[in-house]
Symmetry: C2
Subunit: 437 residues, 2 copies
């Protein structure tokens, strides 16, 4: 049962549109000329001269300014068009060309991407124009009410059974886990993450919680089951909401957890607690003030909240390929940008924790499981999809290990609340992943 849901991943017909200036390029790669060698060296220079060797379609190797010394990976091109496309926009086209098998890596893929990121970082530090340019070129897609629905469908409706093959089997979380003990399994770390979130929110039995963007509903069920609260959880992914409802029924939680297939902007009701784990990436900075207004509207006078999101140290766009092929409309904010959610409504930020390396570990665990289930995934999707998905997972690991992405958990309170703990020790006293109650 091959799926056709990942069509957008197909490499655009580069030769006919963006690339028609390539002239003599031929599908079989063409004869290697002095110009090709020069272009290969230009490419290495353009990405900050990482210690890579380029192998052209006739098997000829081209080294950068490092020469043959300390080469850590080989980048193999199947044809000239692939080389030209990468020169044109390496960030955007690498993913497509790699997925199509027209570029391949000899050497460890993670090591290759980490090295490339670090080389690019050093280069960008020298010349900020590159970043400014790329900011203009790769504006994320709009997250209007209908835009959001289409963007979310693109990624989250790929099929629950696909995600079940490689996410944790305990609470089905597609967000950063928490490894207070780095030897934890992904199941233990996802449960620890949910406890960490619940403790930060200081949940009390009988409280009401609203969740914005609930995935397959794992956090909402967990809160109801272990912390005795009532949860209303919103999500615009139809497949996820169906799954979440079925699970709540199975687990006898349907009276305490309600899943609403609707946009966060349509949240209704008054709640003690607001929580959102891994939705902000899809909101877009233009809507942060509006999101804060939703929280202000639905939160009681002494209410508190938590937002968990991928972020950045410095404003910049998502990797262009990820934004185009994997997460349309996604944008990881800086902490400064996040404050546009809180400051207009005078929310008081109480606690920010950066869990960057926890996401690298989570992704590593997902990738291991993805690879273990490769045969079953091959029954679902074609090779191009599989190469793209692996690249997305590996590239995301590299983004977190090199510090190009961050993971922020932000706890906020109404400004008048004086019911605050005297220290954060309570987050650490119940054991690394034990229950609070």
């Amino acid at each position: 049962m091959r799926r056709d849901k990942f069509e957008p991943l197909g490499v655009p017909d580069i030769s006919n549109r963006e690339m028609d200036w390539t002239g003599s390029a031929r599908g079989d790669g063409g004869r290697v000329t002095a110009l090709d060698r020069w272009l290969a060296r230009q490419l290495l220079g353009a990405v900050g001269d990482p210690p890579f060797r380029i192998v052209l379609w006739n098997g000829e190797a081209v080294a950068g300014e490092h020469g043959a010394q300390g080469v850590s990976a080989e980048l193999r091109f199947a044809d000239r068009r692939a080389l030209l496309a990468l020169l044109h926009d390496p960030e955007l086209h690498f993913g497509d060309l790699y997925s199509a098998g027209r570029i391949d890596i000899d050497g460890d893929l993670l090591d290759f991407i980490e090295t490339a990121y670090r080389a690019l970082d050093a280069k960008i530090a020298d010349s900020h124009w590159h970043q400014r340019l790329s900011r203009l070129r790769n504006r994320p897609r709009r997250n209007s009410l209908t835009g959001s629905r289409s963007n979310i469908h693109h990624h989250y409706d790929l099929g629950n059974d696909f995600y079940e093959l490689w996410l944790d089997r305990e609470v089905m979380q597609y967000t950063c886990a928490y490894y207070p003990d780095p030897s934890m399994t992904v199941e233990q770390a996802q449960v620890a993450k949910l406890h960490h979130v619940c403790r930060k929110l200081r949940l009390e039995p009988g409280q009401t919680v609203v969740e914005a963007g609930c995935g397959w509903g794992g956090l909402a069920r967990f809160m109801a089951k272990h912390y005795g609260v009532k949860v209303r959880a919103y999500n615009i992914s139809h497949e996820q909401v169906s799954f979440a409802r079925a699970r709540a029924e199975q687990e006898g939680l349907a009276d305490r957890v309600e899943y609403v297939e609707d946009d966060y902007r349509n949240i209704k009701g008054d709640f003690d607690i607001f929580v959102s784990v891994g939705m902000l990436e899809h909101v877009g900075t233009d809507h942060y003030r509006e999101l804060g207004g939703v929280v202000d509207r639905c939160l009681k006078d002494r209410g508190r909240g938590l937002i968990h999101t991928i972020g950045r140290n410095q404003a910049g766009v998502m990797n262009a390929w990820i934004e185009k092929r994997i997460f349309p409309g996604a944008y990881p904010p800086t902490l400064g940008q996040m404050m546009e959610i809180f400051e207009p409504w005078e929310f008081s930020v109480q606690d920010v924790e950066n869990l960057r390396l926890h996401y690298a570990r989570t992704l590593t665990h997902w990738l291991e499981r993805f690879d273990q289930n490769l045969e079953r995934i091959r029954d679902m999707f074609d090779e191009r999809f599989i190469r793209a998905w692996r690249l997305y997972l590996v590239g995301s690991i590299a983004a977190f290990t090199t510090g190009s992405l961050q993971l922020f958990q932000v706890v906020f309170e109404r400004p008048q609340t004086n019911d605050l703990p005297w220290s954060r020790a309570h987050l650490y006293t119940a054991g690394s992943h034990g229950q609070a109650q």
Copy 2:
């Protein structure tokens, strides 16, 4: 030995300048007219109708819209000019008039100020124009190199023996203490604060630390003594630096702690750690990017830092009277504004903790000790100074209890550092105020 250092505190001669429109106002208070009663009611309305009664100079009481019901305090005016000045700019003139004894409060001063803040907050939430207006009117003084020196001299050079009378006797900290156990003394809580800061910085013996704005040098000596690091600490207050150097000599720490009487902008050297506790309030948002540049310049590749500062939930100026009479040039930033220190230089924010209520408790302890030492303080300063200083301490308690001020501790790292702890539990495992090593 009365001191003349607090001259700026004198109430401006209102009748001759700002207030010459008051017409018939006389020093003895004058006869109470229907107009005075109307003005008193206007005043209560202007500050959001708190449950106060105004008592005029002839003993006549005027209630606001609450009538006589639930009145929590009486505000006594000695003369008409005081009433008019308060109407003209309550935030600015209240402090001067109270200090001069021309306004007095019947009832608990803290309760009075907290109630006034909450009433004003509710009113401001309704009409943001007031805040915008006050923002224009009360711009903080400039913190150029010479401006900073004069601003800091105004407050911190009042005399070390004055501060010794009411600050803690252990580490002489004039910043928010940390009360993980709320029954702690101010000495215990200041020591706990210093440990908390050192643990957040994960100090290791042999590391080098630079401190920007070191007060009487307590943190620098503490770090050298208990954590085995070498510290270079900057401060532009001459009296504080002299005190700090003498103490370091006495304690045999002079080889490990160097105090430099200079501006943070002139910091020189390469350090493992940057720390600044309670200086940012005096830096001014215009200089945040520059401060970040100083940190970037003086911090090694794997270095980290911590900034501890009074802050706000929403951008706005410091209380006008405090800025004018107590802390010239002071400005408490929002977290969003603070990010201007970090984002341009790609520092990675790892941890933010808000200790707002800890500052209310610290101030309460300072006030108790101030009151216990009133007789000795009377030998140093006149009654007007004492009323002003008590008002400043009580008003600051109210600002923290009502959420008008926050206290942020921000830990940041270089973006490439992967030597990060897997949880913050290490901050809480060495006992509430025990030593880490």
